[in-house]
């Protein structure tokens, strides 16, 4: 009896946190919007923001995967100490506050930043769609790099040595052995990094501004709509939650696959 009771207490304590985490998400779906969700979706901010979000996140994902995969491979191949040091440094964008990321981006690439003259040779405004993509790459790449390099590390290192004894070139080993074997891990990393880019708010706001149709992605549109029309904000939020959930499921599926055939 006493044993059972203690077990229940432990469950109850844990459950309270789970409930706290789930309740706001539930509220998004059940709380009724002032003039309905469909009306909210017709708010003039929604479609330009959705288009922009899809365009910018696919661009940033492309950049992250194309440049991040070789980087992760080099990290996985490098000596343990140096590799780990570099990897830790590359994780920094994950833990620094988004507003700090925004300031850092401004100081580096803003029109008055260190590389300002290079990035904006005509003295153009920093508030461009390209800036949105840059902010997204900055905050989302570490997630991909982390998951990709651990996928490469999970691979049996003997496979690489054996391929080398055949005289296989580094390109051949990368494309024909490492890449196919790490693919599930890479896909999981891509999904994770995409969801992070999709939700990116703080750095974008500070570095790229909040210009409708140009730099106003879905999270920024929520912020703007929230000040006048909470229904629209709620509708966009629901879209983002659904997309995020789908990505989360995708990550889980890929992770399972990655663990099955290392």
């Amino acid at each position: 009896m006493r044993l059972k009771f203690q077990k229940y207490i432990l469950h109850a304590v844990g459950f309270s946190l789970a409930a706290f985490l789930m309740f706001p998400v539930l509220a998004l779906f059940v709380a009724s919007a002032p003039h309905g969700l469909l009306a909210g979706l017709q708010h003039p901010l929604v479609w330009p923001a959705l288009r922009l979000s899809i365009f910018t996140t696919s661009s940033s994902l492309l950049v992250v995967v194309l440049l991040g995969t070789p980087l992760a491979w080099s990290l996985a191949q490098s000596k343990r100490t140096t590799g780990q040091l570099v990897e830790t440094l590359l994780q920094l964008p994950l833990v620094i506050p988004p507003s700090v990321a925004g300031i850092a981006m401004l100081l580096a690439f803003g029109s008055r930043g260190l590389l300002g003259a290079l990035v904006h040779p005509m003295g153009t405004s920093a508030f461009t769609t390209a800036a949105v993509v840059m902010a997204q790459v900055f905050v989302s790449a570490p997630l991909f790099i982390q998951s990709a390099s651990s996928a490469f590390r999970r691979m049996d290192s003997k496979l690489i040595v054996v391929a080398q004894t055949f005289g296989a070139s580094p390109f051949r080993i990368f494309f024909r052995v490492a890449l196919p074997l790490a693919l599930p891990g890479l896909a999981a990393g891509a999904a994770l990094s995409w969801s992070r880019a999709l939700g990116e708010f703080g750095a974008t706001l500070m570095f790229a501004g909040n210009l409708e149709g140009k730099t106003q992605t879905l999270p920024l549109a929520i912020y703007t709509a929230f000040q006048t029309d909470i229904g629209a904000a709620q509708a966009i939020s629901i879209i983002l939650v659904l997309v995020a959930f789908a990505l989360l499921l995708l990550v889980k599926v890929f992770m399972k696959k990655a663990e099955k055939n290392p």
């Binding site: 049996d156 003997k158 496979l159 040595v161 391929a163 004894t165 005289g167």
Partner: protein
């Protein structure tokens, strides 16, 4: 002048906490490398392959010098022409049997595709695995995997062959027939080969000579008969007396 066909090494290296110090020469024979776990047997193979850095090395395969720290020579793994079959064979799990062999043959060769394909088929025939050509390697039995690994490594006509515990991944039933097959393959080979094993019976059967390695050094190297007549360490004595308790304890 007679052609040199052996393998000569003089290696000193620090790998983790293990200090490896090995100098030995062999002809085109099969040398068995035995010793307790952690003695550095696999490490020695990786040093020979150039997959781990040596402090000092002088390695000659046939007439080719592949490493010589005196002249700062370090031929990369890709150009050493050493066949290597690691423990559990390291077949490419995402490729079929045919693709595994083809991967090896296509890696260095600039030959025409049709010619390489012919070589692949010949290699599969030679090792009796033509019927498995389109199967994925993960569904093969241990004995079949070994044949694929051997055909893949030998199809490139390596100048030396290194086998790391080629029979340890097998169950007892297939072990005997696979051992016979391995023995036949090694006998037909005219290059120096090193076989790592834990098993005294295997060592006796496969190796013309047996090198005993203990904590990074070769403590004794001789024929089975000479080892059993005059064992120089407790490990050798236990190893040749067939009790094999030392090795089994480690496993």
């Amino acid at each position: 002048m007679r052609k040199q066909r052996g393998l000569h090494m003089n290696i000193s290296a620090q790998v983790g906490s293990l200090e490896v110090e090995v100098a030995l020469g062999m002809g085109s024979e099969t040398l068995v490398l035995a010793g307790p776990n952690g003695a550095g047997k696999t490490t020695l193979l990786l040093l020979l392959l150039g997959a781990l850095p040596c402090k000092k090395a002088h390695i000659q395969i046939g007439e080719t010098l592949v490493a010589d720290s005196a002249s700062n020579l370090h031929v990369p793994t890709e150009d050493r022409h050493i066949g290597y079959v690691p423990q559990e064979y390291a077949l490419f799990p995402h490729l079929s049997v045919r693709e595994n062999v083809a991967f090896a043959l296509r890696s260095r060769s600039s030959q025409k595709k049709s010619l390489v394909e012919k070589q692949v088929e010949a290699a599969l025939q030679n090792f009796g695995i033509a019927a498995l050509a389109d199967k994925k390697t993960c569904i093969l039995s241990g004995g079949e995997k070994q044949r694929v690994a051997l055909s893949r490594a030998l199809s490139l006509k390596p100048h030396a062959l290194l086998l790391d515990e080629p029979l340890s991944a097998l169950d007892i039933c297939t072990r005997k027939s696979t051992r016979e097959f391995l023995l036949g393959t090694l006998k037909n080979l005219s290059v120096p080969s090193i076989v790592v094993t834990h098993d005294a019976a295997e060592a006796r059967m496969l190796g013309q000579r047996i090198a005993i390695m203990e904590s990074g050094k070769i403590t004794q190297m001789d024929t089975w008969e000479a080892l059993s007549k005059n064992p120089k360490s407790a490990f050798v004595e236990a190893f040749v007396s067939g009790s094999n308790c030392l090795t089994h304890k480690c496993e």
